[in-house]
């Protein structure tokens, strides 16, 4: 059932969807967490889905709270950080680079 809000029926969410979201968000969830979040997110989504039922005809979405435009900086070089500070907090580093684990997939 689709109402004019564009939200299908009761705004609920399945465990499968929660697992997909967790993958997109890079969160390793336990089965218990998946179950727990499925219930909680369902309840929250039910509450917040009211936005789609407000009359929004012709209303421009508001992405910013300030009416500024064209804010730029001049193309001038400023000091970079010393490389020791860049790498100071790195969990692993090698040859002045950040060392990261095996990358299995290519960049999208």
């Amino acid at each position: 059932m689709v109402d004019d809000s564009g939200i299908q029926g009761e705004a609920t969410i399945s465990e499968q969807e929660v697992r997909h979201l967790a993958h997109l968000a890079r969160l390793a969830l336990t089965d218990d967490e998946v179950a727990h979040f499925t219930g909680q997110l369902g309840a929250i989504l039910h509450a917040v889905s009211e936005v789609a039922r407000v009359d929004r005809t012709g209303v421009t979405p508001m992405s910013h709270a300030v009416a500024l435009a064209n804010v730029t900086r001049p193309d001038l070089v400023t000091a970079s950080l010393p490389v020791a500070e860049v790498l100071a907090a790195a969990p692993a580093a090698e040859d002045d680079r950040f060392r990261v684990p095996r990358i299995l997939g290519e960049a999208p």
């Binding site: 997109l24 890079r26 992405s63 910013h64 300030v66 500024l68 435009a69 064209n70 804010v71 730029t72 900086r73 001049p74 193309d75 001038l76 070089v77 400023t78 000091a79 970079s80 950080l81 490389v83 860049v86 790498l87 090698e94 040859d95 002045d96 680079r97 950040f98 060392r99 990261v100 684990p101 095996r102 990358i103 299995l104 997939g105 290519e106 960049a107 999208p108």
Partner: protein, 509 residues
């Protein structure tokens, strides 16, 4: 694992190709897109990074005004509409070369849309010149990612035990230029793809917005190819071959994909919508990521950056300052340079118009610039199998070398050694000259000593010259050249010999 292919000529008897090209161009700004870090190519790892381009918690981006002017100029040169209201968006996906795990890009409100570029294409069969108009769908602004090095036996991602990240490239301004589907090219598809990228590269160089060095990655090309049976109304499924990094490769990638896709279609197989990798060594492509695994990028307006609303007066000023359209510019330069029609045709065919223009702008005569780009540098490029523009030498360096030759500091022979050094990555010309000790042996003092020594060692030759056998001077010149390890100017040596012997050189003008 090579895939079956169909002979190229045969492909065209059954299928019609559709192309799409996505070109990424790194802008040659002094600082990065959203912070003040330098953009120098080849700097030591992570020395050009700060809280902003490292994506440190709390850091915020602010747009580089020169980068925005550059993309608007690109849009104007590509005959695009410049948006009245444009916004940045976040493209969200996790990857270790991207320090915020999102890329600041543009999504549904790009700065430039709906343009075109006229591309000259020569039909190899009929040798007739033609022009194909390539539609430009959009030109948008984004930021580059860091650079990954894969540790392990082959340096390839899948074999690597781990990877290393250098964020110097992170945040360098990147402009993406996307064509509309290019249809009805028939057999010329590979040439059209190459000609488009060539023409675009020349245009970007004329705009002086980018180094457009494919081998350094400042111009990168993704090639989309699909085939449809001749007469079909719907297009076929396309593949996207990523990071095709030379002009020749663009042509080869299109040709290979057409042959490969035709073989699959002939065998009744479907084309998988996927990204593919191009292999320089054998000109083939191999499967990358399939689109079924595609990420959900969750684009949304970048809240840290406010909209860009280009002032029409500013856009008009940028439009006025654009260099002329390529064919008009060629005519104008031809007149300025005073080349013959044949010389100019050679320059155009060598793809050296903008290289010579940039070299002249850096302070040489047109003839001097042409001598190097069509001579020694063209030869080197052919040896290396790249185009002259892809040689790792800048027009400014070529201009410097020619100036030194002109001033008598270098001979042509020495200049060729300087070029060799620059191409070998030994640094800019002056650094190569110093390191290799390539200055012409200067002043008649030092040269005179060498000449005197040579004359003293060869009394018989001296007698022969005095007796009118002027050709014998070659022996003395050879000895002096040997003595100075080739750093002497032969003509000068010859003049000195005659001067010393009180003989009038009949060959001297």
């Amino acid at each position: 694992m090579t895939e079956p292919v169909v002979d190229y000529a045969e492909v065209l008897t059954r299928y019609e190709p559709v192309l799409g090209l996505e070109v990424h161009v790194e802008l040659a700004t002094a600082s990065k897109m959203f912070c003040g870090c330098a953009t120098e190519f080849g700097a030591a790892p992570n020395t050009q990074t700060c809280p902003v381009c490292l994506g440190l918690p709390g850091a915020l981006p602010v747009s580089n005004d020169t980068a925005l002017a550059s993309i608007v100029r690109i849009g104007l040169a590509l005959n695009c509409t410049i948006a009245a209201d444009s916004r940045f968006a976040r493209k969200n996906y996790f990857y270790p070369d991207m320090p915020k795990d999102f890329q600041i890009s543009q999504y549904d409100e790009p700065l430039c849309t709906d343009g075109w570029l006229d591309v000259p294409v020569v039909d190899p069969e009929s040798q007739t010149d033609g022009v194909i108009r390539v539609g430009i769908e959009r030109v948008h602004m984004e930021e580059d990612t860091g650079k990954l090095t894969h540790a392990g036996s082959t340096g390839r991602i899948h074999d690597a035990g781990y990877s290393l990240v250098d964020y110097n490239r992170s945040g360098i301004p990147l402009v993406e230029i996307v064509t509309r589907p290019i249809t009805a090219t028939g057999a010329l598809a590979p040439q059209v793809a190459r000609a488009y990228v060539t023409q675009l590269r020349d245009l970007l160089r004329a705009l002086a917005v980018s180094d457009v060095r494919m081998e350094q990655g400042s111009l990168r090309c993704d090639v989309n190819v699909s085939l449809a049976p001749i007469g079909a109304t719907a297009w076929g499924t396309r593949t996207e071959t990523k990071n095709v990094n030379s002009l020749r490769s663009v042509e080869r990638a299109v040709r290979y994909e057409m042959s490969r896709q035709a073989a699959r279609l002939d065998a009744g197989q479907s084309i998988v919508q996927e990204t593919r990798h191009f292999h320089e060594a054998d000109g083939t492509t191999s499967a990358g990521r399939s689109k079924e695994q595609a990420e959900d990028y969750r684009y949304f307006p970048e809240p840290d950056l406010v909209p860009i609303q280009p002032d029409p007066a500013w856009v008009a000023r940028l439009r006025e300052d654009l260099p002329a359209a390529p064919h008009l510019r060629r005519e104008q330069l031809h007149a300025e340079w005073g080349f013959t029609a044949a010389e100019m045709r050679d320059v155009v065919n060598a793809g050296a118009v903008e290289l010579i223009a940039a070299t002249v702008a850096a302070g040489t005569t047109p003839a001097g610039a042409r001598k190097w780009w069509l001579g020694e540098l063209a030869r080197r490029a052919t040896q290396l199998g790249v185009s002259a523009a892809d040689l790792p030498i800048t027009p400014a360096a070529v201009a410097r070398i020619e100036q030194l030759v002109d001033a008598g500091t270098l001979t042509d022979t020495l200049a060729r050694q300087v070029i060799e050094g620059v191409l070998a990555g030994e640094g800019e010309p002056d650094a190569v000259i110093a390191a290799r000790d390539l200055q012409v042996v200067g002043g008649d003092g030092e040269l005179g000593v060498a000449v005197d020594a040579a004359l003293a060692a060869e009394p018989e030759v001296v007698e022969r010259i005095r007796a009118g056998k002027h050709a014998a001077v070659g022996v003395i010149v050879g000895a002096v050249m040997k003595q100075t390890r080739g750093r002497a100017d032969a003509a000068r040596v010859r003049a000195l010999v005659f001067e010393r012997l009180g003989v009038v050189d009949e060959a001297a003008g």
